[in-house]
């Protein structure tokens, strides 16, 4: 038997969490919302390996992601409901230890998880997207040997990181180099998402960039922009002082408060500022590329800061609507960026490339280990979720579970 924090369908809790997160503001509201999340701490039998190629993993750390929080506070779009299967164990940011050998990788090896459950993991013929190497776009996330689930952590059959054990396909796993700490390794998955976003954005050399949001995804996107693009100025919109300091340390040209962003970017880009009858100010002119990294109101802000013909990349999971008029009026490119592009073997097969592999390398060189600054045992899931919901205000970046702790 393993301990696990399990997500279950509960209309009452759904409504309660939605109400608390919407009506009670501040840290208290986040604590209440955390307590009301449709989660429960349970003891479950060890998950079964669904087919050949699947192995057992014992999570050492598992992060709490913005998409988890959107789901738990009932802010996630119902669009995703067909591609999850309940009850499931959340946790798709995982660094763990192999309990079974996976090909050439022996049991006991530390691994990180690429959570996408694409055709190859489901033991079915590849769909057109998978065949083209775009596994994060897999059309078959409801078919095959495991239940519906866009990722590990949203699938009833695989288990998830918020437990004592999960099962994963060998293709999902990447060995962690010895020099990389567990905390840094935990950030490889979100860093891979950030690398993917930057590649999706195809930032022209010298282009100006704004990153809206300076939580985990925002900061890691900044890191990836600096590593994999050659932009001009990179502006970061950050709410909190610690986010400001971290963004500066990662090389932001300027970090601005959300309320001041339109005015600062107007000056920086030589744009003009306009004040509509209702709603926030917007720019005519503005930055070339924007990354939305808040998963909430950041999209609306980003659309108002980008020049005509500019590009807006949706890095955060959208949980709130936005006025799309700028997309029409300014002929913006709105680009989605989900998870990471799968790893590919290159050359003689000894070299793996792709977003995830690159993130694994980058995590080893970047000063991000201290971003994981709050680790809870599973038994304190209420406190952990409350903390994660209020992470920005509390000075934290990434809150995580350590399932090995009591």
């Amino acid at each position: 038997m393993i301990p696990a924090v399990e997500y279950h369908r509960s209309a009452l809790r759904f409504l309660a969490a939605r109400g608390a997160s919407g009506r009670v503001s501040g840290v208290l509201g986040d604590a209440v919302a955390g307590s009301l999340a449709p989660l429960r701490l349970v003891n479950l039998p060890d998950p079964k390996r669904p087919a050949e190629g699947w192995v057992r993993v014992r999570p050492k750390l598992s992060g709490i992601c913005g998409s988890d929080l959107a789901l738990l506070s009932a802010k996630a779009s119902p669009y995703l409901s067909p591609v999850v299967s309940t009850p499931f164990i959340p946790g798709h940011e995982v660094v763990g230890e192999l309990l079974d050998g996976a090909g050439d990788v022996p049991a006991g090896t530390r691994v990180v998880l690429d959570p996408v459950l694409a055709c190859a993991t489901r033991d079915i013929e590849p769909c057109a997207q998978c065949a083209a190497g775009e596994e994060s776009r897999c059309d078959h996330v409801t078919a095959g040997v495991v239940s519906a689930g866009l990722q590990t952590g949203f699938c009833a059959d695989t288990g998830g990181g918020w437990s004592g054990m999960l099962v994963a396909h060998e293709r999902q796993l990447h060995a962690v180099p010895d020099g990389l700490s567990d905390k840094a390794a935990l950030l490889v998955e979100p860093l891979a998402c950030a690398v993917h976003s930057v590649r999706r954005a195809a930032i022209p050399d010298g282009a100006s960039v704004v990153i809206v949001g300076a939580g985990t995804i925002g900061l890691l996107t900044l890191l990836a922009v600096r590593e994999y693009a050659a932009p001009g100025a990179v502006y970061v919109v950050a709410k909190h002082k610690h986010q400001h300091d971290r963004a500066v340390a990662l090389g932001a040209t300027e970090v601005v408060d959300p309320r001041q962003a339109p005015r600062v970017l107007r000056r920086a880009t030589g744009a003009s500022l306009h004040d509509p009858e209702r709603g926030p100010d917007y720019l005519l002119g503005g930055v070339d590329v924007a990354f939305e990294c808040t998963g909430s109101s950041g999209l609306d802000a980003a659309l108002r800061l980008v020049r005509a013909g500019g590009r807006v990349v949706l890095s955060g999971m959208p949980s709130r609507g936005a006025d799309l008029t700028p997309v029409w009026f300014r002929e913006l490119e709105l680009i989605g960026s989900y998870a990471s592009a799968g790893s590919r073997q290159e050359g003689d097969g000894n070299r793996t490339t792709g977003d995830f592999a690159d993130a694994l390398v980058l995590a080893g060189t970047a000063p991000i280990e201290r971003y994981v600054d709050a680790v809870y045992p599973l038994s304190q899931w209420r406190e952990a979720i409350g903390h994660a919901l209020a992470a920005g205000r509390l000075g934290s970046v990434k809150v995580a579970f350590d399932p090995t702790k009591d």
Binding site: Q260, R263, V264, R266, R267, G270, S272, L273
Partner: protein, 523 residues
Amino acid sequence: MSRPGFVLEVDERTPPLLVHEGEGFRLERFPLGTQVIYPPDAVPGVPDLDAAVDAALAGPEGSAPLAELLTPGTKLTIVFNDLSVPTPPMAAPDIRSRIIEAVLEVAAATSVDDVELIAATGLRRRLTPAELRSLVGDRIYASFHPDHLRCHDAEDRATLTLIGSTDEGEDVEVNTRVADSDLVVFVNVNVGAVTGGALSCVAGLLSAASSGHLYGVPGGEIVAGALPDAGLRAADERMAALLEAKVKVFRIDSTLDNSMFPSRLSFVYKREWEWSLKDQGAFLTAQRANSLTPAKLRHRLWHNLRAPYRVTGITSGEPGAIRTRTLAQVDAQQRTEVSGQSDIAVFGLPYSGPYSVNSITNPVLVAGLGLGEFFNAYRGRPLVRRGGVVILYHPVPLSFHPVHHPSYIDFYDEVLAGTTDPSTLSQKFEKQFAQDEWYRHLYRNSYAFHGVHPFHVWYRACRARDYVGDVICVGADRQAAARLGFRTASTLADALEMATGSVGRSPRIAYLHNPPRTLADVR
């Protein structure tokens, strides 16, 4: 004959004294021994204004009468100063409209038909049509606007001309119409409660670049020990001399009495121990009504005030020749002799200053009002000694007028957030703001102050800030005051306690009882 100015030394019989603090006022009890500087009572106004105007035009000083300067074909430009003087604005009819009408009558009588009117707005905002109409009157407005009555545009390259450089190497670029005129008549309202009176007419007609010579970053004068506004005055005189050497300037100065508030607020003019029961009732009613009025309505009521000034004198002629007489008239109304400098100067700042007429006195303008206008309301020496302390009364609300002061918002949010040092912000930010196309657009086409204007206000404030040891704001928003580099106190007692670090435990305190305008002649 009105009573002259007076310095009261506070003793145990002294009642609490009126202190302005933005859109409100309070009665404050000052420490024993505080010197309170009152201006002279309102001096008598000119009994027959039209006759006084005619007499001034017919009998100028250092110049032939206006009629003799005009001949058919004369290219005549009438320049007048804008809403920044006087504050509060004058109740209709504005004296400028009377004088300009008289000038136009003389011009018409001499068959001069090439006449243009220019509001010398400098880097300040354009005036709205209604504001222009209020300055020049309905008849002139209807006859001249918009083709022959307009505001100066310091960014319109097509209407600016370089007329030369001063001995100090300052390029003087002025309004082309002015430079090309045969005669420039400068209609000036002089309330100059600052060192040396009003600036010359050139100040409001310069290009943005040339304005930088006047109001630019503080330089050696502070290091050299000169008085805070000395550099500004000297640069103005150099540039005015250059213009006057090229173009004939006929200046008409009018001076006003101290009737800054309507009769219902007449207690403002009186010395507190002379308040009658009616005055006390009027004060209590006004204070209570003010505190109960919603903020937006209160703001509107204050800014709708129009002052029933009376004109105390009109002088015309060659600018240098009339300066002494104009200043004498200003002195008669505002000057009070003070014996020696103080360790602490207390200023109660009113709701509006020259750059916030019909607008909002934002935090940067509060600094400009306190350390630019009030600090410089002296003759001889500043009221406070070098290294002393200035105590300001103002709530310093964190509020900006989005149309009038867009660059002030960014200046406060971005520039002052990083540094208050004028040299640093001059090197790092001034050029950006000066050349910002959006600010230029708003200055030229909307009603915004020029992008670089907050820098000029700040530099002037910094000259005084560098002179004193500390600035403490009573009743101010802490965040806003801290951004300005000022300390905050809840009460005067707290402020005085905080000042002990700079001036010791027995400081000599002076309170400039202003408004009404008071000019401290410090001996």
